[in-house]
């Protein structure tokens, strides 16, 4: 309890600032990635003349709309290394930031109903093992032992053949992660400007030198776009085109379930996943909507289809009521991997393409982007995820690992 009081007190002591006319670094987007980058710039590199510009309030975009799953069981070695590093940073985050992030290791199972998917999961578990993270194959009975509520016949229609199990998977409280990075950065002098929408970029001779806001322009040595969803609009101001489409992603929670549901269950055939929040609510997500859209409206058909899918797998959920649903807009890259680093325009960097998998990457994404800004050299972990990989035909295609969360 005292931890909670501590947190609230620290939060209340946050010092908000009026915008200065110029900063060394301006970060667009006060979500997890933007604030983490500011935090690591201040702590690791001593760069504190930084502003994070946020259109709403911090964490009000996708950082407040995701399903908070942290895992590293990706399908290409470059991604496994990156997300494993992020997972390692998450594990020590509470000590580093002196804040309780409600990090809880739960383990995730990816169930398969077809031989094709079983082969994909076998390949994934071997590749994970070779790249430094643990993923094992499990039989249907082992899955049942991990999650007794599971109906292995899939409601008679989707019998489970097995799956892969990634024991290190975890969840953390999204607001706490965002606020911890914000307060950590602000204590060191970083300015966080809320309710300041970036309406354009200032360009001088092919270089981006600042951002336009309704209250005037702010000059910057470097501008980093860390927005979720609207990145194509921001990049267009700099004349940069991105291989990104913005799709809505929906989720819902039910009322509280009294039973124990300690793990995360994900199904590769039905494309849905379920976990239990700290309050006991069942949190359900599925794949993103098929058509690109910037609308954050939720749909009834999503509830209908997703509820039908999860009740096949977890029949106990039939007795629960849906409490609320919401939608985030996420930037899905053409190869389903993030895009980080230089854009070809001086003074303008992006960290984007976080699609449906951005929350788990907050610490590593922030740390590595801060290193890139401070040193001017792309760190080894980011090298595979540069924007120019599309032109040089080295795409990081990994749709099977990123499809839903």
């Amino acid at each position: 309890m005292s931890e909670q009081v501590d947190f609230v007190e620290r939060r209340a002591r946050l010092q908000w600032h009026e915008p200065k006319p110029a900063y060394d670094v301006v970060i667009i987007g006060g979500g997890g990635h933007g604030l983490a980058t500011a935090y690591y710039l201040a702590t690791r590199h001593g760069i504190t003349n930084v502003a994070v510009v946020e259109a709403g309030y911090i964490g009000s975009g996708n950082s407040g709309r995701n399903t908070t799953i942290i895992r590293a069981n990706y399908g290409i070695p470059e991604a496994v290394r990156f997300y494993q590093h992020s997972l390692d940073l998450y594990q020590t985050l509470e000590d580093d930031l002196d804040c309780w992030s409600m990090y809880e290791t739960k383990g995730i199972m990816w169930l398969a109903q077809t031989e094709t998917q079983m082969r994909a999961e076998r390949a994934r578990s071997l590749l994970n093992l070779a790249s430094g993270t643990e993923t094992q194959m499990i039989t249907p009975l082992e899955a049942k032992a991990l999650c007794p509520q599971l109906d292995l016949s899939g409601g008679g229609r989707y019998p489970v053949l097995g799956g892969s199990y990634h024991p290190a998977a975890a969840t953390a409280r999204h607001d706490r992660v965002v606020w911890a990075y914000a307060s950590g950065a602000m204590r060191l002098g970083v300015h966080v400007l809320q309710h300041t929408k970036v309406t354009g970029l200032v360009r001088e001779g092919g270089r981006v030198t600042g951002v336009e806001t309704p209250t005037g322009s702010i000059s910057a040595g470097v501008v980093l776009s860390a927005v979720g969803g609207r990145v194509s609009t921001i990049a267009a101001h700099a004349g940069v085109r991105l291989p990104i489409r913005t799709h809505p992603l929906q989720a819902f929670v039910t009322n509280s379930y009294e039973g124990e549901f300690p793990g995360i269950v994900s199904d590769t055939e039905l494309l849905c996943y379920v976990s239990q929040t700290e309050r006991g609510q069942m949190l359900v997500g599925a794949e993103y909507d098929a058509q690109p859209s910037y609308s954050q409206r939720s749909s009834f058909s999503f509830l209908q289809h997703t509820a039908a899918k999860v009740t096949h797998l977890l029949p106990f959920m039939r007795d629960l009521r849906i409490l609320r649903q919401w939608t985030g807009i996420c930037d899905i890259s053409a190869d389903f991997s993030p895009i980080m680093g230089e854009t070809g325009v001086d003074g303008f960097l992006v960290t984007t393409g976080w699609g449906t998998w951005g929350f788990k990457a907050i610490p590593a994404g922030g740390e590595q982007m801060a290193q890139l800004i401070a040193t001017g050299r792309t760190p080894a972990l980011l090298e595979p995820f540069r924007l120019d990989r599309f032109a040089s035909d080295h795409t990081m295609a990994d749709p099977g690992s990123a499809g839903t969360h």
Binding site: S232, L242, I244, R245, A290, P292, Y294, R297, S301, F390
Partner: protein, 78 residues
């Protein structure tokens, strides 16, 4: 919920359709032929506002149609 008017089948829910991508030509401003190919293959306009798109009526007449849609409000204009 998004409703799309099919010239053959009338007003039908979006679930019956498959999204076929935004409609655009080559970027005229890019003069280098290789850069132009890269742009054509990989990049999207991803417009926040009114965009022109192709849709396929998969669970209906199974024909393609072109429409204009506002991606901010998610409504079909024409």
């Amino acid at each position: 919920m998004l409703w799309i008017i099919c010239p053959n089948c009338g007003r039908r829910p979006v679930e019956e359709y498959r999204f076929g991508g935004e409609l655009r030509g080559f970027a005229e401003s890019i003069t280098d032929p290789v850069a132009r190919d890269v742009d054509y293959v990989w990049m999207y306009d991803n417009i926040e506002g009114i965009t022109t798109e192709r849709w396929f009526h998969a669970a209906g007449c199974r024909r393609w149609l072109t429409l204009r849609r506002d991606t901010i409000t998610d409504t079909v204009i024409a």
